[in-house]
Amino acid sequence: MANSLLELEEVQKDYRIRNFGRVIRTSKALNKLSFKVEKGQIFGFLGPNGAGKTTAIKCITGILKCDSGTISIDGENIENNVFENKNKIGFLPEQVGLYGSLTAQQTLEFYGGFYSLSESIIEERGGKLLDLLGLSNSLVKTVREYSLGMRKRLALATALLHEPEILILDEPTSGLDPRGVKALRTLLLDLNEKGLTIIFSSHILSEVQELCTDVGIINNGKMIRQGPISKIRETVEKTAIKLSLRVNIFGKKDEKILNENKDISILENKELGKHKKIILKLKEDLIPWVTNKLVENGTKIFSIEPHNTTLEDVFLTETEGDDDV
């Protein structure tokens, strides 16, 4: 069986709070995190704030060292050959920090200097990337004069300069205007078509849904769900779906009857002109029971419509109980 391009196995990471060098407190960031990313995937890394996405990305890119567990690329533990494995990764951090006094070309020359690239290759590839990312008109400006979006694009150029096998992006669209987001999306799809594997974390779930082939949902440092988006949606739908009802009345008695069943929860109850709109969360096989009960109670049902499960629904369901989303 072929190895996954990237695999994390039971990765643990604690942050240590120090005072005068002595560890006074530890805080768990990754708790036996495991997941796999196959070659050619666009992998969306989802999770609420503080779930451990950035920590996981920092461990993969070698910015942080994990306490235990293994991270492998092409089946080889990255610790065994850090140099080779880091050559396979391109990274765009969420907070892009570039040296303000350099121009775009000088920035590429600086970061390109850490790979086995000749000056002519840096110049040639750099020129193409700057052109592709819409920075070729700003070559004489220093980075200090760049907007946040331009800086992100330049940082992306530095991440792509050495033609990595995996591109890791931490919240790449934050700070970009809609045009920038669209351009980035097009670029990523284009790069993926050419064989680049992409991992990115984002809070904009619609974007992940649109772009990713696979997602992983992380919460409290642990992977709670991973797979193709369609499969995850199916799995979640088996557990619960959303049902929208339009009825003439929905009184306390109806509410009480439905609340008696623990597998049903009322998400919304609001007036809609002459009718009432009720949104329920329930298992699919409970729909006949609900309609029967309501009809028995004298309620007229004008429409009944199951909701399509979005990635946001999956995300909210999977990370339920965590308010900091």
């Binding site: 990471k13 604690d14 942050y15 240590r16 060098g21 960031a29 920092k58 890119t61 070698g62 910015i63 942080l64 060292k65 306490d67 050959n81 850090v82 140099f83 080779e84 880091k86 050559n87 990764i89 990274f91 951090p93 907070q95 892009v96 920090g97 570039l98 040296y99 006094s101 600086f110 970061y111 200097g113 850490f114 790979y115 086995s116 940082a155 530095t158």
Partner: protein, 492 residues
């Protein structure tokens, strides 16, 4: 069992540096055998023998002898630090003045015969040398002296009475005195070779060493280009340039005249003093330039992009340290050369070795101060902390060190009472040893060391080799500490 397991784990985790650790262990064994060699072949504590000496003064007879009767006519090889008292018109007076004078410490009566001889003080012990040592040996050199205890008879007058003196005196010929460095160099040479081999095999174990060297150079050049043209560097650079060059000129002039603050300067003293001024101003610039590194990068998030590259953390620290050293070191080097030029043209030429040490170890000193500041910059939590730590370190090392030494001396009970306490050998020894904790003092010591022809000298209580070892160890330790702190960040 727990300890053994931990030790084995620690050993395995240091795979890269295992050859160097083995080499250092062997060097320690050689250093012990070096010490044992001198202890076995020589008497390394002449003072203990000297303290056995008794002076008995009766009515018309004075006797100077040793309690241990077996010592008489015995030849012993002593090893110690040399101080020479030549018997000349200026040291013991003219023949008219000194003839027939009894000196209790020297244990003899001066006569015409004395003028061709000299008395040496070897760690407190007096040995009469039959000949002049002028131009052959110098003060503070560590020597071995093969001396024989001989009983001599003299006559001298005391209160108009004729006194017979029977004195046991340690005597040696000029050929019986030798510098201790020959054997020292043999040991030091072997130790250096073993260290070099350990380092070589350790570096061979560093994965992708060639690439890492290339990256260190890449970062160093980047830091140099970035740092050299900052307004801060231009201002500080101009100040220290004028200061070092001006001081060089002044110290040269003071060799032929005097000044109410600095007094008169000897040629050797001038270059040591110039090294102090170079440290004072060079360390300030080194600290000032290194303040922003790491801390500011962390604040501006420039570090993450760098850390995601295939570069070791050690390489990043080394590259930055080298780059910042170049930023400060190159202008300092130019200022030093011009300062030296003026010092030599206005005064006299110091020994070539000391000029080499002044320039070469000046760069090592700047590298040390840069890496020292990097340790502070990596571990500090805020920008103001980095500045405060750096400024405090500079104040301590460059300005208030003497006060700090006096304070510590008071606390631990070293006698600092009296007007000339700073000339007291015990205080000097304490202050010199404390100086090993200050890169600036070590820099001066090493420049002072190279005004001598050998490293087997005593620098007021600190052996020359120890000063040399310290000047090498300081930057290595600071660099190691900085990389350790930086790597600790990676562990989170």
């Amino acid at each position: 069992m727990m300890f053994k397991d931990k030790a084995i784990k620690q050993w395995k985790s240091n795979y890269t540096w295992q050859p160097l650790l083995i080499a250092i262990s062997i060097i320690l064994l050689i250093a012990i055998s070096h010490k044992v060699h001198w202890e076995i072949t020589t008497e390394t504590d002449p003072l203990s023998v000297w303290n056995d000496r008794k002076v008995t003064e009766l009515d018309n007879k004075t006797t100077i002898n040793y309690s241990n009767e077996n010592l008489l006519n015995k030849t012993i090889t002593f090893k110690g630090v040399l101080e020479i008292f030549p018997y000349t018109n200026t040291s013991i007076g003219t023949l008219e003045e000194s003839n027939g004078t009894f000196d209790k410490i020297d244990g003899l009566v001066y006569s015409e015969d004395s003028y061709s001889k000299c008395m040496i003080n070897l760690n407190g012990m007096r040995i009469l040398v039959n000949g002049s040592l002028e131009g052959k040996f110098y003060e503070s050199e560590v020597v071995t002296v093969e001396a024989t205890l001989i009983e001599r008879s003299f006559n001298y007058e005391r209160n108009n009475a004729n006194i017979d003196l029977k004195s046991q005196i340690w005597e040696a010929e000029i050929d019986d005195i030798a510098l201790a460095d020959e054997k020292d160099y043999y040991f030091f040479g072997v130790e250096t070779i073993i260290f070099a081999l350990g380092l070589y095999f350790s570096l061979k174990r560093v994965s992708n060493l060639n690439e890492q060297i290339k990256f260190a150079k890449h970062i160093a050049l980047f830091e140099f280009k970035r740092g050299f043209k900052t307004p801060r560097m231009i201002v500080l650079g101009l100040i220290f340039f004028v200061f070092i060059v001006g001081m060089g000129m002044l110290l040269g002039q003071l060799q032929n005249s005097s000044n109410s603050i600095l007094g008169t300067m000897t040629t050797k003293g001038s270059i040591i003093q110039l090294s102090y001024f170079t440290f004072m101003i060079g360390s300030m610039v080194a600290i000032g330039i290194s303040v922003d590194t790491f801390h500011k990068e962390r604040q501006e998030n420039t570090m993450d992009l760098l850390l995601a590259r295939p570069i070791n953390r050690e390489t990043i620290v080394l590259g930055k340290a080298l780059g910042l050293t170049m930023v400060v070191g190159i202008p300092v080097f130019i200022a030093q050369i011009i300062g030296l030029y003026f010092m030599v043209t206005e005064g006299n030429m110091p020994p070539i070795g000391s000029m080499f040490a002044f320039l070469f170890f000046g760069q090592i000193m700047i590298f040390t101060m840069v890496t020292f500041q990097l340790c502070l910059a990596i571990s500090a939590r805020s920008g103001s902390s980095v500045v405060i730590y750096g400024l405090s370190a500079w104040l301590l090392f460059a300005l208030v060190w003497t006060l700090a030494v006096i304070t510590i001396a008071t606390v631990i009970g070293v006698d600092i009472n009296g007007e000339n306490f700073e000339n007291d050998p015990d205080y000097q020894k304490f202050a010199s040893r404390m100086g090993l904790l200050n890169p600036g003092v070590i820099y001066q010591m090493v420049v002072g060391l190279f005004t001598n022809r050998t490293i087997s000298v005593d620098l007021e209580g600190v052996p020359g080799w120890l000063a040399l070892l310290s000047v090498i160890l300081w930057p290595i330790m600071c660099l190691r500490m900085a990389t350790w702190l930086f790597k600790r960040e990676m562990r989170g």
